[in-house]
């Protein structure tokens, strides 16, 4: 088949297909992340969440998308129309472009750039223009304040996040996303276990960067109504939402690649075989997981009130069985090539899902920071901590390389202990009361 494609176009075929798949699938995926969020929130808040559209609200995202599409598109008076139109597009485009260097698996990656990580960070940070310009063009105080807050917050936390990423980069020795994962496979350990503090810093800053609670000040509902999105409605508003969730997946993807071993399965060095079979025990995990979900869905079937819902639930169970079958099938030798791709994608998505789940969990638990507290946390705690982290980690690497230190575990424990001490010291310093703010002058 490959001889049908002219050689000039050949290298573009797979990336273009991947790109189209991403752009087509992601909005749906984002819709389901929203549903997941609502369901989780409901569960933690002693209620049910969406239940009406489809069994357990499974069709809710589609209904929501349809509603948003047919909603009236309001443009406020005095708005800068052109900017108002373009701003959400900037946000969503930049978010989707950043996916192009994201390795969803050893196969499914649009472009493995030499500077992949920097590219993702750079393009991801461009989404800020969508926010700032949208806030400005709305001609509303709330929007403008939200936009300015957002800009200040993003710029500050990007520094901390970047420095946290450096600590993992030092270990990997490359900026290419693929090589970073490969480095973790070669060293046999996910970097989260080597630089846990770096992961922690990145986790906190990534929440702030994506404007999620408890750092959701740019869209703080109780203060700024909806921040930069206040004047947006309908589809444009949906685009902002799409960008927000895309950004969540991007930071989760970065964290997964750098700290959680990307598409590697847990214990990549463990080759224990399933008794009596040629399959590795851990390779069978995804199939078992999907089978479990399928069984759970089947157990729910009799409890559905309506015939259609029963059928739908059974269908979901069937789909899970199918996925399990695909996962199991790729274990067999003839499909060796596909195994890497399918299992890699599964593990990558599973890790991204876990990361996003933690985001949501944090959101439902904590109150919101105040703006000055947020800035203080960023500049007086995270950035110094990240700087020290880079120093300590690089020092430990130098020690390991030059003195032939043979105990990586010891060095990890020592660096982490040092970092924890620094973190607690910084936190103590930060907890000391500020000098009371001067009452505003001129009054």
């Amino acid at each position: 088949m490959s001889h049908l494609i002219p050689p000039a176009i050949a290298p573009f075929v797979v990336p273009v297909i991947c790109g189209i798949v991403l752009v087509a699938v992601f909005p749906l995926l984002a819709g389901y992340i929203v549903l997941l969020e609502r369901k989780l929130m409901a569960d933690m808040q002693a209620r049910l969440g969406p239940m009406r559209v489809g069994p357990h609200g499974l069709l809710q995202p589609i209904a929501d998308a349809f509603k948003l599409l047919i909603k009236e598109d309001i443009i406020p008076q005095g708005a800068d129309k052109f900017m108002f139109y373009v701003a959400p597009l900037i946000s969503v485009t930049m978010a989707l472009v950043a996916f192009s260097a994201m390795p969803f698996g050893p196969v499914f990656q649009i472009a493995d750039l030499n500077v992949g990580l920097l590219f993702i960070v750079a393009v991801g940070s461009l989404g800020i223009y969508g926010i700032v310009l949208g806030g400005w063009s709305s001609n509303s105080h709330y929007s403008l304040i939200g936009a300015l807050r957002s800009a200040a917050q993003l710029v500050s936390y990007e520094t901390a996040a970047g420095l946290a990423l450096v600590s993992a980069l030092l270990l990997a020795g490359s900026l290419s996303m693929k090589d970073i994962v490969q480095a973790q496979a070669d060293q046999g350990v996910w970097f989260i276990f080597v630089v846990p503090i770096g992961f922690f810093i990145y986790f906190v800053s990534s929440i702030a960067e994506t404007n999620r609670a408890p750092f959701d000040l740019p869209e703080a509902e109780s203060e700024l109504v909806a921040g930069y999105m206040t004047e947006y409605s309908g589809f444009r508003w949906a685009l902002y939402f799409l960008a927000e969730y895309a950004n969540m997946v991007i930071v989760a993807g970065i964290a997964t690649t750098l700290f959680l071993g990307g598409w590697l399965r847990p214990f990549p060095g463990n080759h224990q075989h399933l008794i009596g079979t040629p399959f590795e025990l851990l390779d069978a995990l995804p199939s078992l997981l999907f089978l479990g979900v399928a069984l759970y869905c089947l157990s729910l079937v009799p409890r559905q009130p309506v015939q259609v819902q029963k059928l739908f639930m059974a269908g979901v169970a069937g789909a899970c069985v199918l996925l399990a079958a695909v996962m199991a099938l790729t274990l067999f030798p003839p499909f060796d090539a596909a195994r890497e791709g399918v299992h890699g994608a599964f593990w990558f998505m599973a890790k991204v899902g876990g990361y996003v789940y933690t985001f949501l969990w944090v959101r439902f638990t904590f109150p919101r920071y105040r703006f000055d507290q947020l800035m203080r946390l960023g500049w007086r705690f995270l950035i110094p901590l990240a700087l020290v982290n880079v120093l300590v980690v690089s020092a430990s690497i130098v020690v390991q390389q030059n003195w032939e230190w043979k105990h990586p575990v010891v060095s990890t424990v020592v660096t982490t202990a040092i970092m924890l001490a620094v973190a607690f010291w910084l936190a103590e310093e930060g907890a000391k009361p500020e000098p009371a703010p001067q009452p505003a002058d001129g009054e």
Partner: protein, 380 residues
Amino acid sequence: MTDALTNGGSPIETTVLGADEIILNMGPQHPSTHGVLRVKLKLDGERVLSTECIIGYLHRGVEKIAEHRSYQQFAPYVDRMDYVAAVSNGLGYCETVEKLLGAEAPPRARVVRTILTELQRIASHLLWLGTHALDIGALTPVFYCFREREEILKIFEKYCGARLTTHAFRIGGLQYETYDEFETDVKRFCDDFSGKVDEYETLLTENRIWVGRTKGVGILSTADAIALGVTGPMLRASGLKWDLRKAQPYAAYDQYEFDIPTGKNGDTYDRYLVRMEEMRQSRRICLQAIENIPSGPIMAKVGKVLKPPPGEVYHSIEAPKGELGYYAVSDGTTQPYRVRVRPPSFINLQALDKMARGALVADLVAIIGTTDIVLGEVDR
């Protein structure tokens, strides 16, 4: 009906602005102004230079209506003032008219009134806690609070058929005898409830972000609180141990033991702690009262047509939000000559400017929340 509430009585300058100053209009449609409060803010960046409350969007002329209704007919209207604490409003009004008549409710009625009012206090504080936490960004407590509040409303519904605007009491006592499982219901609620308060406290009290957002925010000194006429939990959080239930007992409060929690710093965090403790104390009162409800009639003999002798009377009770006072003047007819309400929210709201100056916009939201206002009562 625009009423400017500012410290010192002078409306803020909105025409002369510095280079960095902007005017932000918060409300009357804003997620955290608790209804239709409109606050005009003068901001320097995000710092509040001054505030101006613009109220009256929910004005219904309750006091004027009173002059054209008989005493019994007016009773349901008071429920619509502080609509999240309707039972307390009703208690205040009924006791005022009873005082005007020179009548007194029988002991059984007084005890049942106490129980229902204390339940209402818990419900009101729960609503406050939920919305306050939501304002500060904690999404979850509001649902936990509503879960418990629902139990209280169920008791109200079983007792008098209404959940929100209950009209639970009548002038002279009660209209309805308690229902059969009233005692067990209240007891079950009280038994569950102490664990639930601990649950809310687990979520918030020690939370660094919560403490950071509330401690030292919106400080109101004791002197300021007294000067501004602030009452209720806000006054107690400022350090003054003043509770009408102890100071001039009404209903059956003189029979029960309870503590009056007070704060030290008068900040938002102290007000939070005081209200949390008040919920516990209310539960304690309910438990004591439910043990021993005296038997006997539930209605004093006041007659079908109320014609109080000419005269005037002021009576106040400790509503969940502060001192709720009714001043009624009778000219000897079946309709009051004048009824004046001293709503706690309205007067507590005056402290807003004092607390908000120099704070950030985010603090202002916390401060409005901690004032615990209900616009139905502010505007009447």
